[in-house]
Symmetry: C2
Subunit: 451 residues, 2 copies
């Protein structure tokens, strides 16, 4: 299992000073009219949704495309074909399976501006969380080409591997390595959440997606990273805005807690003296649910694996994965402490051993102002609004190493990670158009700086 | 999944009157000296423990031999070789994999007296729960042969399939069909507790143990059924008795409860309005733990399967298996009602749908007095005592159709279903000697009746 605590806080100056930190906001009014082909984008979102494992989610119009599965391979192969036929200067797959396609600009000696997201989904996912970011980026480049729109910086499209962490834990599997927060080996050793012992590395190998492309920002510097994502909340919907610029994110801590008790017969072992790991874990889940309300944050137990599997044994080992979320760092840290205290108290009450680790910690933060401003301006007029994401994205990794911002597309009812996740055709197109304009805005500043 | 509620209460007169309901207690003092070969029994218990899946339990000296696995096949093959080399008149395997070996008596026209138990174990089992009953029976027949002890009735040794229900639910997989409480098809369709979709039927087929032997009592009537089992409690140990006669059992209800909620993102879905199935199931587990103490019974949640598996989704479906135990039927039924009320209340609180079914219901009861008396007399002097089992056995199925009694062997600390389950050599041997003497006692009554 991946042992290091991933504590994501923006790194200090070394890398940041190597990228663009200041520039003047300039015009480029011509680019403000840029629009993608909404029909083509819409068609591809739904066409690619065919590569989905058959289950109730798929039947309900959702998407189930776990990392390293055959469905993932089909979507990846399609993406590779698309970028090659669009004339990518380079196309590579790195060791953690991420696909990088780069298109020449006129100033090819500077690092590319990247647009990236993920084609993988959760088991019970929708068609937009992830795919909109990748297919939207593809549509931007197609439309640039068609409309003869030139750019100074090269432009890269990235399909990041295992963003969701749905099949293999932890999430942000590849962008995390890219940002120097983990290693290729650790990512390859990411274990299956179902306890089967499978690893991400083996799964990627099985679909032929372990390549020799760049794994880190040091190997493949970016001038910036932009990402479209569905909002997964209702701020835009309530305000009647189709798009938004994402100013920052709430903090997230992910913990693994394992209670270990004692084996014994379910029917005959006296109640007094039992060391039932599942009762302990259940008490913690109930406490976590209460904690969310007390702390005005969010808590979710996302995975439980308990054994011995059977029907007539006291459960002697129960492993939980859960996440705590809060807008404020201090409150997030307090929630983590309280959760740990409750778990220790429960372990004491039930005579259990407790293994406790914080597997991931993303401090709340803000995207890079110069990148956010490019998105804000790209939204145009009163079409957009500032918003915050409540979860982590590949962009919350890239922001550690380069100017990063995100475009939000309005979500119906704020639903995501569910079959009925929905963003309508016009909002998808508008978010992609904003992405393209934001890239052109950022490109203007690079051009000015380097010419 | 097996749909019928298995409501185990002894059937009325039709079958019982076809068997021996009354007899006089007679002498047969010669048989009271019968003893098995303790070294051979002990050696075989430990020799057969080699057929065990490698895991922490096995390393700690326990046994992990799930039904239908290659280890199960090895133990079965050994058993078949042993009974054949002992000169069994017949050896058959039935459709649910149970092995029947029958040895001639002088009055071969009457149904055999059976000694049976199971060679399968739970995942984290010990070496005695099950194997002592089968290998002890084998040792009885070997010793009868060696010592020239004749019997009037034929004698059968039975290795019942899937008593534990550890790999496939429900337990008592074959004896339950034998007693007319289920069908071969339903047993074959018993699903894996790990949610893999495997079935008992497929597993038995894969090890070559689906045979054409007798499946039911109607096809293979027994004059009686006797079984040795480790006590799994501390009554004998506290009283300083190596053996006991089992007078009855406590009642057990096994329930399956599935909470269904709504898919959603673990980080972004507002706390208020969530329909989190795992929180609901956890509240029920905590309530069940409390219920045991309030009702002076036992409760255990023995299996939890929750999904979608991943690390960033609210759990939308959580299935629990749990059992309730009580000495008194009324209290057991009340516990079942209270558990259901609590589950409904939790479902209401969290906006969940609830699927609820009682998968098994074994009323508390008493073994057949004429069979128990044979064990009581076989214990001899003050070596034994009356006791009660707190769980179900193959004998709690056979008692539905024929005179049945059990022999208890003292358990160290009352532990079972754990690697450190232990019954010492002398107690194993004494329990097998008691089993042999009890069979001879019962045989005396049959002989008297038929001669």
């Amino acid at each position: 299992m991946f042992k290091n605590v991933r504590h994501f806080a923006r790194r200090s100056t070394a890398l940041q000073t190597s990228t663009i930190r200041s520039y003047s906001i300039t015009g480029a009014r011509a680019h403000q009219a840029f629009k993608v082909n909404s029909d083509r984008l819409w068609k591809d979102i739904h066409k690619t949704a065919q590569w989905s494992a058959p289950n109730a989610t798929t039947e309900a119009g959702g998407l189930s495309r776990l990392s390293g599965t055959i469905e993932d391979k089909m979507a990846r192969d399609w993406f590779a074909d698309q970028v090659k036929s669009l004339g990518a200067k380079s196309y590579t797959v790195n060791a953690t399976g991420s696909q990088f396609a780069t298109f020449s600009g006129r100033g090819d000696s500077i690092p590319p501006i990247a647009m990236g997201s993920h084609l993988d989904s959760v088991t019970t996912g929708g068609r937009f969380d992830g795919p909109l970011g990748v297919i939207g980026a593809l549509e931007v480049v197609r439309s640039f080409r068609e409309q003869g729109i030139e750019h100074f910086a090269p432009i890269s499209i990235i399909n990041w591997t295992n963003e969701e962490g749905a099949r293999f834990f932890p999430p942000l599997g590849s962008s995390c390595v890219f940002a120097g927060q983990s290693t290729v080996n650790a990512a390859h050793e990411s274990k299956a959440n179902n306890g089967s012992g499978e690893t991400l590395g083996d799964a990627l190998m099985s679909i032929g997606y372990v390549g020799n492309g760049p794994n880190t920002f040091e190997e493949f510097p970016l001038s910036a990273h932009f990402e479209i994502h569905v909002e997964q909340a209702r701020a835009l919907e309530k305000a009647g805005k189709p798009v938004g610029w994402v100013e920052g994110w709430q903090g997230i801590s992910v913990f693994e807690a394992t209670f270990r008790g004692e084996d014994g017969h379910a029917n005959t072992y006296p109640m007094h003296g039992r060391r039932d790991a599942l009762v302990g874990a259940s008490r913690l889940i109930v406490e976590l649910d209460n904690l969310a309300h007390v702390a005005d944050g969010y808590t979710t137990a996302t995975n439980i694996q308990s054994g011995p599997v059977g029907s007539c044994n006291i459960q002697s080992s129960t492993k939980l994965v859960f996440c705590l979320m809060h807008k404020e760092l201090l409150s997030l840290n307090n929630m983590g402490q309280q959760a740990h205290e409750k778990a220790r108290s429960i372990a004491s009450m039930h005579g259990l051993e407790l293994e406790w680790s914080r597997a991931m910690h993303l401090e709340p933060g803000h995207f890079w102002e110069e990148a956010v401003d490019c998105v804000r301006r790209a939204c145009g007029g009163d079409r957009g609004m500032g918003a915050r994401t409540d979860t982590a994205h590949d962009s919350t990794m890239t922001q550690l190493v380069c100017p990063t911002a995100m475009v939000f597309a309005r979500s119906k009812d704020g639903v995501s990670h569910a079959a009925h996740e929905w963003t309508n055709r016009e909002d998808c197109a508008e978010s992609a158009s904003v992405l393209g304009r934001a890239v052109l805005n950022f490109d203007q500043t690079l051009k000015k700086k380097h010419s």
